[in-house]
């Protein structure tokens, strides 16, 4: 079935390719050619909004917390499937609760035959976790297929969490150093503020949606970081170029021109990334579901917004372009208003 669909789509692409090559297609323009949005003026709205959202995200993090997955919390996770028919969750729950292993969660997902079982971390170190999973396996018997079993002792889980956090810091610092080399320090600082903003908001999203926070979430966070910066760097590159070319243009106008001239690229690229993520979200299966959901939020929603409304306008406050002879007048009041 899927094969016929794929072959059909392949034929469609072949035809489209020929038509496109012959120049018979109308050209699709998502973004009009010459835009002149006053993005920097929005900073008076976007900065307070971002600050407020960040505070909300941080509050959520402290009140709701993150739904730590097994990677960071330790314990046991079993993904099982009934060998025939629907899984009898009620019976399984009764059986497992009889084992007295503390908190046990059973959850159906992706069809009536699949059950996700989480057993909380057992007191008594690594051996206790192993004993617990053995008991669960014995109790549930052979009538089900064990599709995935993960058991993590408390120490390994703690180490993974520490490692993940360390990696996040390491990535931010090394990217900062790179940007500092390639641009001026104000750019590096601006990118870092944008970066932290992205991560804070994404963590807020994870807190509110309660998706599992595990190793793949760290991977998602790092990817978001990479792509959000990718975007920021594209705009910064343009700002640097404009700074060299137009010595007399006031900073807000220069930033606006830079954002506008890269706007259609930003939108098109985000659209293609969205298409790719959408495919992963819809067809990639539940194993990478939370991973793609987090990426979708971070890359598509936050990343685009940040590079346009935060990363670029913040350069005004960081004093970029102040030392150009003719621009002094425009940049100085902006700095004062912040102080």
């Amino acid at each position: 079935m899927t094969h016929t669909v794929l072959i059909g789509l392949g034929v469609l692409i072949a035809i489209l390719t020929v038509v496109a090559a012959l120049g018979l297609l109308p050209s699709l323009r998502i973004v009009p050619d010459d835009t002149h949005f006053d993005f920097t003026r929005f900073r008076r709205i976007s900065f307070p909004i971002s600050a407020a959202l960040s505070i909300v995200a941080i509050t959520l993090f402290f009140t709701h917390g993150l739904n730590l997955g097994i990677d960071f919390k330790g314990g046991t996770l079993l993904e099982v499937r009934a060998k025939s028919g629907a899984a009898d969750i009620a019976a399984m729950r009764t059986t497992l609760e009889g084992l007295r292993l503390g908190e046990i969660q059973l959850q159906q997902f992706g069809g009536p035959e699949n059950v996700l079982i989480r057993v909380a971390e057992q007191p008594g170190g690594d051996k206790a976790q192993q004993d617990a999973v053995q008991k669960v396996r014995t109790a549930l018997g052979d009538s089900i297929e064990y599709r995935r079993v993960e058991v993590l002792g408390p120490r390994v889980a703690g180490e993974l969490l520490a490692y993940g956090m360390l990696g996040l810091m390491l990535a931010i610092v090394s990217i900062l150093i790179y940007l500092w080399f390639r641009f001026e320090w104000q750019f590096a600082l601006g990118a870092m503020i944008a970066n932290v903003h992205d991560i804070v908001l994404t963590i807020g999203f994870m807190s509110i949606s309660q998706v599992d926070f595990d190793l793949t979430s760290i991977a998602a966070l790092l990817t978001i970081l990479g792509y959000s910066l990718n975007d920021t760097v594209v705009i910064y590159d343009r700002i640097r170029e404009m700074l060299r070319r137009y010595k007399k243009m006031p900073m807000p106008q220069l930033l606006n021109e830079s954002i506008n001239s890269t706007l259609s690229r930003s939108i098109i690229t985000h659209f293609t990334v969205t298409l790719a993520l959408l495919a992963l979200l819809l067809f990639g299966g539940h194993a990478i579901h939370s991973f793609t959901a987090v990426m979708m939020f971070g890359v598509v929603l936050v990343g685009t917004y940040t590079s346009i409304f935060i990363a670029a306008p913040i350069l005004i406050y960081l004093g970029v372009g102040e030392h150009r002879e003719d621009a002094k007048d425009e940049a100085a009041p902006a700095k004062k208003s912040k102080a």
């Binding site: 120049g23 690594d126 991977a219 590159d237 790719a276 495919a279």
Partner: protein
């Protein structure tokens, strides 16, 4: 920007072609690839999350290693002082990571110090040049203190891990698994990956046994009941049976023959009772020791002890001189097999604990492959169609570049024998989304230059020139994130980092070479007055 020398163009195409060709072995069945020359055998390895299997992280008990070493020091001290006829009071005590002994006579202290210093060896054997020793001997107020320095402890830990890995390897291989991976991780951990293993229960059981095997005499002077009541002779100890119900045995501490002298063990059936039994064979020195012991103790029972549990305690009917014997003791076929494996593989120098376990069944792995493939196709198709609609002819160029890009990703992954995981597939899909970004950057720049009033060829030239610097900058930041991810990640996440990182490299390569080359050819062929972009 649009001019390539013939050699440069050839070089670019050859490079791309060779990298793409590296992916070819993946399209042939594994058995067929095995018959190819070694250099052509590189291919993608499916991660455990895709092909199913077990991942176990084992930890060597460092406290056990330390305690074992200190106990050994204690015994050495006791023996050395007795041999030198130096009196000590209160015995040799192990406390606070050190062995301490109080010398009775003050006049003996110097002699004792000299004697005990002989116990200390240079670290690293004869090759040791660090000047460090494996024991530090100090004295205060008639108490001699022997401590094991940190460096010596680490050295011992390292050796323990190396030995353990060998034993683990032998035990895992005995299970008849395909291509298991056994690696050291960090200072005290061993990683075991067994593809295709669905239920690691038996593997864990096999790895969880230290399998210290000893042949010892049963002490017949007291009954187990008397021993339990407290009348245990000092050179004997009370051990329990391995099989239920737990039965106590009084066993002498002296070891007749140890497991190290075994050269073979097999699970077979007893010829008379047709019960599963384990037959074993000693090496020459083991055979001699066993023969002597059995000769001296005909009619008495001896105990076969595994990890301080009595497996069986048969009576010696006649001297066993051939160095061969068999153990019977209410085995099932599997438990006899497991015991034979443990006896053949030898004892672990220290107990291992499973600290992390991840098992994926083959059903889920297959599902994940199918879902990953479907997502990859759908994602690619969406992106390809979108590029065609947006950039028309240049969309065709972009799609060719992306196709080469993806082929090169698979080529490089195969060349590196990299592991493909489900997040790794996600990484490839994402790369498709991102790879077109480099084209978008170039094309949008060309559009801009056209609007700025340049003619077609000069706009294309300027577009490439300006966009490529940006492409490099923006991709390096993502590459840094991927590198960090590779460094901190394990398993599936590392697979994601690998595909992401490689995807960035190939993306930059295709943007700088292939896309440019294709457009350059088109310009030379068409000499366009306008750009259909």
């Amino acid at each position: 920007m649009l001019y390539f020398t013939r050699w440069k163009a050839l070089g670019i195409i050859l490079t791309a072609l060779i990298v793409c060709l590296c992916a070819v072995p993946n399209f042939f069945p594994e058995a067929q690839v095995k018959t190819w020359p070694a250099w052509a055998q590189r291919r993608l390895v499916l991660g455990l999350d895709l092909q199913g299997g077990s991942y176990l992280l084992l930890e060597v008990d460092s406290n056990y290693v330390k305690k074992e070493r200190l106990d050994q020091v204690r015994d050495d001290v006791r023996r050395a002082l007795r041999d030198a006829k130096i009196g000590f009071t209160g015995g040799v005590v192990v406390r606070n990571d050190a062995a301490e002994v109080r010398i009775t006579k003050e006049t003996d202290v110097q002699a004792a110090l000299a004697k005990l210093r002989e116990l200390s060896q240079p670290l690293g054997g004869l090759m040791g040049s660090s000047g460090q020793r494996d024991l530090e001997v100090s004295e205060a107020g008639g108490v001699i203190r022997l401590t094991v320095p940190q460096a010596a402890m680490l050295d011992r830990m390292r050796k323990t891990i190396e030995q353990s890995i060998q034993i683990v390897e032998r035990r895992v291989n005995e299970l008849g698994t395909v291509e298991p991976v056994i690696q050291r991780q960090g200072n005290d951990r061993i990683l075991v990956q067994v593809p295709g293993l669905q239920d690691p229960t038996r593997l864990k059981k096999l790895l969880g046994e230290t399998a210290k095997m000893e042949f010892r005499m049963v002490d017949t002077t007291v009954s187990p009941d008397q021993a339990q009541a407290g009348r245990l002779p000092p050179d004997s100890e009370l051990l329990m049976s391995a099989s239920p119900p737990p039965t106590p045995y009084v066993v002498k501490k002296q070891v007749l023959v140890a497991g190290g002298d075994l050269i073979d063990a097999q699970a077979t059936f007893d010829q008379r009772t047709s019960e599963p039994v384990v037959s074993f064979k000693f090496n020459t020195s083991g055979a001699r020791k066993f023969a002597q012991a059995t000769q001296e103790n005909v009619g008495l029972p001896f105990a076969i002890v595994l990890d301080n549990k009595v497996i069986s305690a048969p009576r010696i009917n006649e001297p066993i001189t051939g160095g061969q014997g068999q153990i019977s003791g209410s085995f099932t076929v599997q438990s006899a097999n497991d015991l034979a494996i443990l006896m053949r593989a030898g004892a672990l120098p220290a107990p291992l604990t499973v600290v992390e376990e991840r098992t994926v069944g083959p059903g889920l792995g297959q599902d994940s492959i199918e879902k990953g493939e479907l997502a990859a196709y759908v994602g690619s198709i969406l992106v390809i169609v979108f590029m065609l609609l947006t950039y028309r002819l240049f969309g065709v160029f972009a799609n060719i570049a992306v196709a080469i890009n993806v082929a090169m990703i698979f080529g490089l992954l195969s060349l590196l024998n990299a592991t493909l995981t489900l997040p790794g597939i996600a990484g490839i899909v994402l790369t498709v989304g991102i790879a077109v970004d480099s084209n978008v950057l170039i094309y949008e720049r060309i559009r801009e230059e056209l609007r700025g009033g340049r003619n077609a060829i000069s706009a294309i030239d300027a577009g490439f020139k300006r966009a490529l610097a940006t492409i490099l900058d923006s991709n390096i930041t993502t590459f840094i994130a991927a590198a960090v991810l590779f460094y901190i990640g394990t398993g599936p996440v590392r697979g994601f980092a690998v595909t992401l990182g490689i995807g960035i490299i190939t993306t930059v390569f295709t943007a700088f070479t292939m896309t440019r080359l294709i457009v350059a050819w088109w310009v030379r062929w068409k000499r366009p007055q306008s750009v259909p972009i």
